[in-house]
């Protein structure tokens, strides 16, 4: 049986394999807007992003936050220049995967067709809707 093609806007959200936190769409949004800096269990979260100019980053910002990537950067600059956050961290998918494998605090989104290993998948985002289950095809 042939797998259905992935939806263009599917993202999986991953954390370190030892991170047992659950997440809702609201909490994911609050994390990426730094309205909270911690997972549900109170442990600090470190956000990772796909490259700033990538179509994936732009799509993720729109789907989750209803902001363009430019607006997201504009929003984040408020946090940086009040001394409340560091710069956004951008990396390519391979590097993100590596960082999530090594950093218990890391959380990242990746294109749904990324081959995942050594990380825990919290769920996936499709058409702006969060599903806390492994990505389905």
């Amino acid at each position: 049986m042939l797998a259905k093609p992935l939806h263009a806007a599917d993202f999986v959200v991953v954390v370190h394999k030892d991170n047992r936190s659950e997440i809702t769409q609201q909490l994911l949004m609050q994390l990426y807007l730094k309205k909270t800096a911690a997972f549900a269990d109170g442990k600090a979260a470190t956000l990772l992003h796909l490259p700033r100019s990538s179509a994936e980053h732009q799509q993720f910002c729109l789907e989750l936050l209803n902001l363009t990537a430019h607006q997201y950067q504009s929003y984040w600059s408020r946090l940086v220049f009040t001394g409340n956050a560091s710069n956004l961290q951008f990396a390519n998918a391979d590097s993100i995967l590596q960082q999530v494998q090594q950093n218990p605090a890391a959380i990242a989104y990746l294109p749904a067709d990324t081959a995942l290993s050594g990380v825990r998948q919290l769920g996936f985002l499709r058409d702006g809707q969060w599903r806390d289950a492994p990505v389905t095809y």
Partner: protein, 397 residues
């Protein structure tokens, strides 16, 4: 002024030195960030210049009013401790840099922190980012409210936190600071020194999905002896000529005295729905029971986003009612009341409304081009209607 320039020059050299030296020495990352705005604008026609504070007061095209540069050094001393140093150079002050932030931050837990040092005083909802043009969609934050107070930074302590309550997020900021410096610097002579003691500030932000409600307030004890000397003492000859008794004159001066509580309060909302954004804020402030009547400022803004292009229309209004002279309640002599009323009309006359249409175009990450046209009306007859425009670029790095 010259000694301030020398001091700030030395500060800049030290800052740049730190920027170059610390990243190489520190084991933890040191980040250097910056922001800036370069904007050209003009009021039309210039002969009707309304003399709004720092708002295209010069005749003709001007780069000075909105152009500024900021540089920030932020370093993690360990996982919980960090420091932030920010310098701000405004063209209107001939790029003489000021320390706009200088604090140590201690992270109590992921969602709570204390800051100690020079802090931005959140007089209003966006006061702490008012100079970071890139962080908002306006060409400048509504002038009626964000007209650049001299005491927008102060030294002290802050406790900041945020909490998730079901689907709501709540952010709270509490500050206790002291300010010592000059006000009315824009009116020449280096300004008038005042002190604001025990500035107590509380700011709350409640967010649910795309809706944000915010409110806050500041209360401080004003020590404004020089304000009294420079603004009130010139009234003495008129008081003596009125024939009022010395006791009545004393009571009159006590009523106008500026050594009282300064109070600021603001509240508003921000709501985003698909490509639309609505933002509104209102504030009331002044020195209570003094010759400084209550000011009210407000704005209402509606934006629409076309991908990289954002159009915003807003109306802003500042009102000072010079006839609101409750502080003259204790003064019964008609001649003295009239002197008080005349004084109030002279010093409390900044009432205007303005409509502004702004465009923002996100050219590339960290760079936004902006333009606006504005039209307003000031209550002073010598000002009346005014129009203008500005073009510029805001950036961060």
């Amino acid at each position: 002024m010259k000694s301030k320039s020398r001091l700030n020059h030395q500060l800049c050299v030290l800052f740049v030195g730190c920027c170059m030296w610390l990243p190489a020495q520190a084991q933890q990352p040191v980040s250097v960030n910056g922001f800036g705005s370069v904007r050209l604008g003009e009021l039309l026609p210039s002969k009707d210049n309304p003399q709004l504070v720092e708002f295209y007061n010069e005749d003709g095209l001007s780069f000075a009013d909105d152009t500024l540069f900021g540089l920030q050094l932020q370093a993690e001393l360990d996982t919980d401790l960090s420091y932030t140093l920010q310098l701000l150079s405004k063209a209107v002050e001939d790029y003489d840099p000021d320390v706009s932030l200088a604090f140590v931050r201690y992270q109590l837990d992921p969602n709570h922190q204390i800051k100690f040092g020079r802090l931005a005083v959140p007089l209003f909802a966006q006061s702490d980012i008012q100079y970071v043009g890139y962080s908002h969609d306006y060409s400048r934050l509504p002038k009626a409210m964000y007209y650049r107070f001299d005491f927008e930074v102060a030294d002290g302590l802050a406790f900041e936190g945020q909490q998730i309550i079901q689907d709501f997020s709540l952010k709270y900021v509490m500050q206790l600071t002291e300010f010592s410096g000059n006000v009315f610097k824009n009116q020449g002579s280096g300004g008038i020194p005042i002190k604001l003691h025990q500035m107590k500030n509380l700011r709350l932000e409640l967010a649910y999905q795309q809706l944000q409600l915010f409110a806050g307030g500041v209360r401080a004890d004003t020590e404004g002896d020089q304000l009294n000397v420079q603004l009130l003492e010139p009234l003495r000859p008129a008081l003596q000529a009125s024939g009022a008794s010395p006791e009545a004159q004393q009571q009159f001066m006590a009523a106008l005295n500026f050594n009282k509580d300064a109070e600021y309060a603001f509240w508003g909302l921000r709501w985003q729905y698909q490509a639309w954004k609505l933002e509104a804020e209102r504030s009331r402030y002044g020195i209570t029971e003094s010759a400084d009547v209550l000011n009210t400022a407000e704005y209402l803004a509606l934006s629409y986003r076309f991908d990289r292009f954002i159009v915003t229309l807003h109306q802003e209004k500042l009102a000072e009612n010079p006839e609101n002279v409750q502080w003259l309640q204790q003064v019964t002599a008609p001649k003295l009341r009239q002197i008080g009323l005349n004084f109030s009309k002279n010093v409390n006359n900044n009432t205007y409304r303005m409509q502004v249409l702004s465009w923002r175009y996100d050219l590339q990450p960290g760079v936004a081009l902006k333009a606006d046209i504005f039209s307003g009306k000031h209550q002073l007859d010598r000002v009346g209607r005014f129009n203008g425009f500005s073009l510029g670029v805001d950036f961060v790095f």
